[in-house]
Symmetry: C2
């Protein structure tokens, strides 16, 4: 194949490296105003009075809104628990209280300072266990014990199975709030058009979902809104859903009759990015002497923060997916999502699956060591495999899990540094952890497919329309490769059109590592349909049967003698300009052959399941507790590589983000007050912390995905943290079960030992 599987520079890389690519903040619309938002300084307080007089009188201020004079429709993903501006009370530090539109950003900022709010402080709910007590204050009135959502999943007879096990182990893990921390802060521009329609420019991962949510918040029909996404400077799942500022700028634009822009500051991002849901995870694992994992019971109490958005979905993923990594006989999970007065959580990259994998993949190492078995062998003994039906109904159509574990382990063993000196300060260790993830997820919606339109112009150039977003991960390039490969034309002749809900075919958006598998498949089918149309016309022209023709390098040729040919371009002109004209356009809706989960969580809801394993080597400074990741071997079953550049990029990025999560980043609170309000107070990993990454790509040629491909976006993050925790134990015999693994924790644990 000419494009599939071959290294392809991203088709938009030139625009990006030359600084020409327009991100939201680069967009300036004539007459545009700037929005700033007044946010609550208190984690929990009643709003007694808001006085906006001074702000309104400031020169250059065009509108000031509060919860009293803007739509109060509640919105949210599964639970509608938020209004665009607080009406009665504030529920976390950062909650939106009032908003200003002014002619400059500076004036807007000044105006926000002039708004006077009287609060009555309320007791702060900042601990999930206390929040669940019957006498706890409620974050949302009427939400009993502050429980936003609970799940109870059970397969097999777990009581019986535990009773028959040789060993039953039990332990507790916890993970913390971390930020997506994409380079480009989130933002939006709202502009009301003269025909009464609303245009929102915003780097949303899901333009259609965003459109519906903004409509709900404003109380208007979705199709009255056009969402256009410019270039997106990273998103990682944290820009799938709208934020309060989306409807806020729409309201301000309506009042002022001018376009209104907001771009969050990094501080606002730190307050409102919706970091990972932070759970406490108890696991009980039943095993046999030979390492067979029989059954697993899990109990999760997850901190939702002040408002629920995708947190319910994240809890669901956390509760189910790791059950499908191994051939358990029975599993049982009870999980609770609990409101607190902390920053609302949601998720990014792996959406809950990372938290659950940290717990399970740490725990397997602990258990294997206890039994005296090699954790790698224990994993290999228990992995799911092709054609296996998991407890939750996943039908595994392709699976490279064993190959990934084996390859990652062998590579990390092979390249490990010499054992440190006996008694030396620096200790080294290696370990492996693995993962399973989805490529699409019908659980979230009745439709889990994607649509694509391919339009060929009369000059033979091909426009690809998809509603799936490119967050920087290279989706546009994947679509262009697929279209070029199927149509037999140069990738330079492909233009992937910008995202626009009016003209992009309907799509659910970029999440669940679904874009290549589902969006790419829709593009493939549309391209195949267009190819058929073109071959039909060429067959008439060349007077050859259709099935004897093919297309290569922009030429349609007779397969038995390629000198008998005609150019793709001339057939396109002919197709459009002759009086048997056809549009040479295909509009395809594709939905994978999957089954949405039922109320018990059972269903084969992903187009494909992905597998991977990371082998890690760490160095621990036993004097300081500092951990350095020396090397990560990342082996991933991607089905079939479409663009090696993209896959390697995802692996490097996922590993980096995984290390950051495991070792450095942490959003902390004191009495409900966030302590990490900027990057100076939030430790990010930097280039100097980046280990060598060896990527191993396992191809299993999935029968459903386009050309056999499966997703890779999220999987690369998942095994990193548990593999690091496991390698630390290998190095120094200390186990850290609550993330992040800070030098302090290691230092203390070493001292305790």
């Amino acid at each position: 194949m000419k494009y599939i599987g071959n290294k392809q520079s991203f088709i938009d890389s030139k625009e990006k490296v030359t600084g020409k690519a327009k991100y939201l903040d680069d967009i300036v619309i004539h007459g545009m105003l700037y929005c700033k938002i007044l946010r609550s300084p208190h984690p929990h307080a009643k709003i007694l009075k808001i006085d906006t007089t001074l702000a309104e009188n400031l020169e250059g201020v065009k509108a000031v809104i509060t919860g009293k004079n803007c739509p109060n429709n509640k919105f949210g993903l599964e639970i509608a628990d938020v209004t665009m501006l607080a009406t009665d009370k504030v529920r976390y530090v950062g909650d939106e209280v009032a908003a200003v539109a002014a002619v400059t950003e500076e004036i807007a900022k000044e105006a926000v300072k002039l708004i006077k709010v009287e609060y009555e402080l309320l007791p702060v709910v900042d601990d999930v266990f206390k929040a669940m007590e019957s006498d706890s204050p409620l974050v949302h009135d009427g939400c009993k014990n502050n429980i936003a959502k609970e799940y109870h999943f059970s397969r097999g007879n777990i009581e019986e199975d535990f009773a028959e096990c040789d060993y039953v182990f039990e332990d507790e893990f916890s993970t913390h709030r971390v930020q997506g921390l994409y380079m480009e802060p989130f933002g939006a521009i709202a502009k009301w058009e003269d025909n009464g329609r609303l245009t929102i420019y915003s780097g949303l991962q899901s333009i259609f979902q965003g459109r519906n949510e903004i409509a709900k918040a404003l109380g208007i029909e979705p199709s009255k809104i056009t969402v256009k996404a410019p270039f997106i400077g990273g998103a990682f799942g944290a820009k799938i859903w709208i934020r309060n500022f989306h409807p806020i700028v729409a309201v301000l634009a309506k009042i002022t009759q001018n376009p209104v822009k907001i771009v969050l500051t990094r501080e606002e991002e730190m307050l409102t990015t919706r970091p990972r849901v932070a759970p406490k995870i108890k696991i009980k694992l039943g095993m046999m002497k030979d390492g067979t994992m029989v059954c697993k019971q899990t109990n999760i109490i997850a901190d939702n923060g002040a408002y629920s958005w995708a947190a319910t979905k994240i809890l669901m993923n956390m509760s189910i997916r790791t059950d499908c990594l191994y051939r358990f006989k029975s599993t049982k999970t009870d999980s609770y999502l609990v409101y607190t007065n902390l920053i609302p959580t949601s998720g990014f990259r792996a959406y809950g699956n990372s938290q659950a994998h940290f717990a399970l993949e740490s725990f397997i190492d602990i258990c294997a060591r206890k039994i005296g078995l090699d954790p790698v062998q224990v994993r290999l003994k228990n992995t799911v495999h092709k054609d296996y039906l998991t407890l939750h109904g996943w039908k595994i159509k392709s699976c490279g899990l064993s190959e990934c574990i084996d390859a990652a382990n062998k590579a990390i063993v092979k390249t490990r540094l010499p054992k440190e000196e006996q008694g030396g300060r620096i200790k080294r260790g290696i370990a492996t952890a693995c993962m399973t993830h989805v490529s699409g997820n019908r659980g979230g919606s009745k439709f889990d497919g994607s649509s694509a339109m391919i339009r060929v112009h009369e000059d033979g150039k091909v426009f690809v329309f998809s509603g799936e977003a490119d967050l920087g991960q290279g989706a546009k390039t994947i679509f262009a490769q697929i279209a070029a490969e199927v149509l037999g034309v140069s990738i330079d002749d492909i233009t992937v059109m910008p995202l626009d809900t009016d003209t992009s075919p309907f799509a659910l958006g970029t999440y669940s590592s679904r874009v290549t598998t589902v969006g790419g498949k829709a593009v493939m089918l549309a391209a195949e349909d267009v190819k058929k149309q073109i071959i039909n016309i060429a067959a008439e022209e060349l007077k050859r049967p259709k099935d004897t023709l093919d297309i290569k390098d922009g030429v349609i040729y007779y397969t038995a003698d390629d000198r008998d040919n005609i150019s793709f371009k001339s057939i396109c002109t002919k197709a459009i300009r002759t009086n048997k004209s056809i549009p040479v356009t295909s509009y395809i809706s594709y939905d994978p052959p999957t089954i949405g989960a039922d109320s018990t969580g059972y269903g084969d809801y992903s187009s494909a399941y992905t597998y991977g394993a990371h082998g890690v080597e760490v160095e621990v400074d036993t004097h300081t507790g500092h951990v350095k990741v020396i090397k990560v071997v990342a082996a991933h079953d991607v089905g079939k590589v479409i663009n090696p550049n993209g896959v390697i990029g995802q692996i490097n990025g996922g590993v980096a983000q995984g290390i950051g999560w495991a070792l450095y980043e942490n959003q902390q609170f004191k009495n409900g007050i966030p302590q990490s309000t900027g990057l100076h107070k939030y430790t990010l990993m930097t280039m100097k912390d980046m280990p060598e990454v060896e990527s191993i790509i396992v191809e299993t040629n999935d029968p459903v995905g386009p050309f056999g491909a499966k997703g890779i976006g999220e999987p690369t993050l998942i095994p990193t943290a548990p593999a690091i925790a496991n390698a630390i134990e290998d190095a120094i015999g200390v186990r850290i079960k609550d993330l992040p693994i800070t030098p302090e924790k290691i230092y203390r644990a070493l001292n305790n030992k």
Copy 2:
């Protein structure tokens, strides 16, 4: 029917009357520069030297281009005879010599004045007959006798037929240059996008044609350009094709890396609008005593002006169409298009057909009077009719010509004012003239259809995409009516999407009165296809056979019992969101069952042929020669009315523009210098000259057009001028054969009599 045939306010009328509709000049893009063009003050001159130094040094000037430093690709419609800026010589007063982009319009204007051009004057070619002489200077080197194009059409044996006629009459007519004079001057904004693509905003009637022409002028691929048309403030056929300023602003935008706008001044419009081709038409008509018209021979010498654009097509129409109005036994036409150093001509509203009808329909009255027959009866005796095959191959599938003549005549006779007093100053007269026109024209291109896309959103709202332009005539409303009627939903649920070559389906554009017939038909077919998709899903839902369901008022119902129903909206949501998802989108390419004209001009090249007749009453002031049109009865065969508001609007407008052409407007020259460089020097008719107009709509239910409809845009202008000339003769016995019919000409003719 709920919408078809019923008066429908234009769906964009609210935006227009509130001043919200954005026309080109309302668009302001951040960083936009303004372009002004230096034009030739000489009708014919060699460019010796251009010095742009002073202009370049003016503060605020960002770029100055001349023919030396911009692309020199020749472009044009049939004959590529023009470059965006003059290279060697200028050929008419107004020819583009240099262009400036500056930060304000004023600075650009100032800079243009600072450009010094040295010219060597050349002899001026300003008369078609002299131009054809062998010793005439050539407007374009190598173009022998300045003949840009010639046609020779012949059917039957005209020599024999003339020999057998009772009468053979011969006469000569001429028409003049007049302007489209739409309210909104033409213009464009060019903006190069960061991905190297070019966006052109311009109120073009044919966005795809414009795109190809701009590409040709710039030497780039068409699909690298996006043409977006904002609201268009009138066009009348004069904005179908690009002007030189389109590639000029693109070049300036490229150089400056800023968007560049130009909007022509009215003076520039007067110079470059490309007015009607001005022909001298000799006709010879063979008739029998009973009024039978046997044969017709025509000789046309038409003034093309300095560059050819659509003038060749206009000459073609002039040469053929009137032959198909009556049942001639034989016809012969020799016609020549001749270059001069006058303003380049092209056409608008009726595209040459108006000129030919003026000659023939004037001449029939003259001949009938000579024989002593009633001109109305002569017409009625000779009209074509349904199922008639004309000499040029038109297969007439619907024809209300006789009905129109009869109705117009009867109405004007019935309401005529009492005969003026004998010997009084004011004389009154009535007369009738008729016409035939096309609805589409395959002659111009191999494809003569249109495409449409209809997309239904999950909230049940319908988006209609067509590439056919609404110039103000109400095309968007027609499309919305058709879609609403077919889909059984409210017209308020229909949005007709803006014109954009990236997202609008391929279309030829608004000309040849084709938009309703061809564009509307494509919309109808797309709507029918979408309806089928929706009914299919509803059939499953309601558990009823598909063919027992229909849609009305947004509800899909069982036709045997309409209480068994489901909402259109819920089915759309279901269609898009369930896992048997379909896009509820249809992309249709429609081409009418017509045949392009062969090299002899033979072919059934229009989807439908339209007919009409105007009865006119005039008053002539015999002291001053002033003519006042008192009443026009306009009877038109429109096949089937879609929107009576639109038809009446077209009739009123066509009548007004026809009167202006007949009596007032005239673009005059003196030694090649235009004398009418502004509306103060160009007489337009005003409201006080507007007669009472009685509209008579004849419906013949064409078998091809949507719901039986045919075009109406151009026909309404055509019979006005000859009917006025005929009525003047009826009033005062004086015949004016060269337009316009000015008081001076009448006064002189009366004096000569």
